[in-house]
Symmetry: C2
Subunit: 282 residues, 2 copies
Amino acid sequence: MTARLFSGKALALAMESDQKVRAEALPRNPALAVVLVGDDPASRVYVRNKVRACERTSVRSIEITLPYETTEETVLAEVARLNADPEVDGILVQLPLPEHVDASKVVSAIDPAKDVDGFHTTSAGSLLQGLPGFRPCTPAGVMEILKAAEIDPAGKQALVIGRSMIVGKPMALMLLDADATVTIAHSRTPNLPELCRQADIVVAAAGKADLVKAYMVKEGAVVIDVGTNRLPSGRLVGDVAPDVVDRASVMTPVPGGVGPMTIAMLIENTIRSAEGRLGKAH
Amino acid sequence: MTARLFSGKALALAMESDQKVRAEALPRNPALAVVLVGDDPASRVYVRNKVRACERTSVRSIEITLPYETTEETVLAEVARLNADPEVDGILVQLPLPEHVDASKVVSAIDPAKDVDGFHTTSAGSLLQGLPGFRPCTPAGVMEILKAAEIDPAGKQALVIGRSMIVGKPMALMLLDADATVTIAHSRTPNLPELCRQADIVVAAAGKADLVKAYMVKEGAVVIDVGTNRLPSGRLVGDVAPDVVDRASVMTPVPGGVGPMTIAMLIENTIRSAEGRLGKAH
């Protein structure tokens, strides 16, 4: 079997054209505030990518760039101002923050109703309890990929590799809500190959190049690669080895797979927030 | 192999004597407010059991019994009063509430710092994010049983059967935090026997009598029975069939297993809350 490579990039583009129509149909443009403290080059690139996605979808981006020396108090005051601003629908604080600013305190200060990253404790609790709220963008993007690829997790065996707060754990809960039987594996799992071979759906989010190899994958499985690992050569690769393409039925490439969908879901959350705020049900 | 039957009742009693000492060492007795609306007979029994556990551990119980007709507004006002009372360490609203009172609204109104049941969305989010907070009492009780039985979940394969908000999901996260590889199975899982046979630790919380049978259990597995099912005869049984005793290494009985530990953890949460409030680290 040769896997179909599912293009997250193409799906993100398709979503964007729908998002642009929805954004322009609202009484005012949805607005996403992006707070960047300091000038970490990687963070700058991430922020730029998000701002560009806003531009493509008629979402107003409000870039708030604060110098590295900014105090925690000032960052918190900025978040409070954005919470209070009725024209702001989403607030994203680009992580990491400088060491002298408590990131968890800053994220907790965001109004959960504007927490489009889905990192607030209230958003996490809502996910666990099945209540409405913003879901973290990366696992939400994976769910959109499965939907677009017409893969229904119900009754399937899913394996999530990795247990981070922003990917692994929420991913497991979202697959569980979709009626999959879910296993969460991690660095302390002794028998990953064995578990992997049983899975109909594998989501690799361990941050380890070539972790999932062909011999570990069940013939016809769906393999979603959330890894982004930079090789010494500078090349970006996922957690899934290239030869898995000969075993899987559907696979996502890196780059161009889950990555673009993460940003698409950030825009989606922002537009939904605006639709809710401006009285349009979604 | 014949399983050791682990008595949750004995462990709860041992914990209670320690709890009593800690409660009496504080500047004032820890206090648990129990709000009961209406006179559902089962709820009355549950409340009575909790009040008795308070009496045994020198925790002051404040029983607030409101008539069935009480409005949501009045229940919320009562919760607000208890939140504001510096002498109250824990607030428990006995569920179910009458239909005209929105239970989720009432639970959300409890100050997370007094949410000793661990049902608040903030408590759930703290669990997911690995932050401090009150954990739901039943899965917390299971973790105590494992600890007391000297079963370290790290590196083990755990199966949680059931995905409720108050047992299955938090149980899976707590076992994951203890470095187990965790699978969550549920009513839509097609191959439960197969999954069960692979597990070193099985937590059955499906609410289905005799769901876990001997042939499904790996020789030497630890089997924790969270089920409480009332048979037509009136007898109370768990989710685990009696013949599992011949396969498991450790097993919890029903009644007398997880049940008493749920109440012990409620008392534990209340005392920890008081210790925190009264400036004693735990």
